[in-house]
């Protein structure tokens, strides 16, 4: 979503993005002229008249589980977005029975919060697990 019109979205897709993504952009490119939606989400900059690189993960109940906002010159890390999405999905599937510690990615050990884990995380998780 950006403040550009859907006509400009079409031109960008047809003339540039289609050369990068076969078949063009697979998801809807939304127009937020005037930045009204961006203002509600806290990413619209009135002075510049544009939206920051905001990324929101919204769960199936419509609840915001996480977000990241960057200024224009720095791009996102899509792998990190997917990692977070997979982590939130796992937590949801286990109904909160499992939590994903720092550095978790699919396949790595989760933690099971509960009275038996109090003060025992050091046995289950090492600082080296925080890194890939």
């Amino acid at each position: 979503m950006s403040i550009d019109s859907m006509f400009v979205h079409k031109m960008w897709n047809d003339h540039e993005l289609e050369h990068m993504v076969k078949g063009g952009i697979p998801y809807p490119m939304l127009s937020d002229a005037g930045g009204k939606v961006g203002t509600v989400y806290g990413v619209y900059d009135e002075n510049a008249g544009v939206e920051a690189r905001g990324r929101f993960i919204i769960d199936p109940d419509g609840v915001v589980q996480g977000y990241e906002v960057l200024t224009p010159p720095v791009g996102r890390n899509v792998n990190e977005t997917f990692r977070q999405l997979q982590a939130f999905q796992l937590v949801r599937e286990t109904k909160g029975g499992e939590a994903t510690p720092s550095g978790w990615r699919p396949g790595k050990k989760t933690l099971k919060p509960g009275i038996n884990l109090v003060g025992k995380v050091w046995k289950e998780w090492k600082t080296t697990d925080a890194f890939d």
């Binding site: 540039e16 939304l30 690189r53 919204i58 915001v64 996102r76």
Partner: protein
């Protein structure tokens, strides 16, 4: 005379020049205070309808139509920005 402008990743914009209208400035500062708060994690995402372009067609998208699915909502400064 028009000067050549540097091209960066932020979409360049202009605005009125000259003396500022005092009343307008005061008013906008007050509304800014009220509106400028980030939405919170763990709370409902504000619903919206937005026009857009999707696979060769112009569409209207309502966020709440996606209830039951995971949604990644991404904002960016503008089409044809470089990053």
């Amino acid at each position: 005379m028009a000067e050549e402008a540097a091209v960066g990743c932020a979409r360049p914009t202009g605005g009125p020049v000259g003396e500022e209208n005092q009343n307008e400035t005061l008013q906008s500062q007050e509304t800014l205070k009220e509106e400028r708060s980030m939405i919170k994690v763990g709370q409902k995402a504000p619903d919206f309808i937005a026009p857009g372009y999707h696979k060769g067609a112009f569409v209207n998208v309502k966020l709440s139509d996606y209830l039951g699915k995971w949604v990644l909502l991404c904002f960016y400064p503008g089409d044809f920005t470089f990053v």
